[in-house]
């Protein structure tokens, strides 16, 4: 498997774990972003860390998105038990992110950073909103990711 392929596989596995912990039935693009932040030590993780985005920070602002007008706090129920299995299904947002990453360079030139680029390419949806809420310049982050390409 190529470096890109191995890296993508590792991010996907971590993303599935993030989705499981989230009680999500499918892997969303934000779980892939968390997978990059908690995933293999590689260029994309460093780019996120330099922007002040580690796993904990992303988790927090992802949760703050739930404040979009409704709250689980309205129901006085204990936190549900997590699923024992990691979800296999990729949501449309995750599929788009991977497709955008994998088509952002000729196949032989693909690197781990392209995975992050694919995630950052979404103009709408949870990831760009979360980044905007956290005060992160998405275009700037994408530019730094691009510059980190070997």
């Amino acid at each position: 498997m190529t470096t890109f392929g191995k890296y993508l596989h590792a991010v996907l596995e971590q993303g599935r774990e993030e989705a499981r912990q989230d009680g999500s039935a499918a892997v969303e693009a934000e779980h892939l972003l968390l997978g990059v932040a908690a995933g293999p030590r590689a260029v994309p993780r460093e780019v996120l860390a330099e922007a002040g985005l580690d796993h904990r920070v992303i988790r927090e602002f992802e949760h703050s998105l739930n404040a979009a007008g409704a709250s689980a706090a309205a129901f006085d129920l204990p936190r549900p038990s997590a699923n024992p299995d990691r979800p296999r299904r990729l949501a449309a947002s995750a599929r788009l992110a991977i497709e955008r990453g994998a088509t952002s360079a000729p196949k032989k030139d693909l690197q781990p950073a392209h995975v992050l680029l694919g995630i950052l390419r979404a103009d709408v949806g949870t990831v760009p909103r979360a980044l905007a809420l956290a005060g992160i310049d998405r275009a700037g982050l994408a530019e730094r990711t691009r510059r980190a390409l070997a």
Partner: protein, 83 residues
């Protein structure tokens, strides 16, 4: 997470669409919690399914594995008749 009530004050479709996505996630999460609490309280699958307005098969398929892994004692179907 804030405890704000649902008030659609924004006229920006981006906000409205994001709210829809967040509400779907919230609904899933509340369903997970509510089904678990009901089953812990001794409800049967048919009761939970009827309360949710879905089939027994659907609710079982969606939640059984998670609840069994969490150690919830699930009522067997026969128990309904014994009551």
């Amino acid at each position: 997470m804030s405890g704000e009530p649902i008030t659609a004050v924004s006229s920006d479709p981006a906000d409205a669409l994001a709210a829809v996505a967040a509400l779907r996630r919230l609904a899933d999460r509340v369903e997970d919690a509510a089904v678990e609490q009901a089953m812990r309280a001794g409800w049967s699958w048919p009761q939970v399914a009827e309360a949710l307005g879905v089939t027994r098969q659907a609710v079982h398929k969606k939640h059984a594995k998670r609840l069994i892994a969490a150690g919830v004692v699930l009522r067997r179907r026969d128990d309904d008749h014994v009551r």
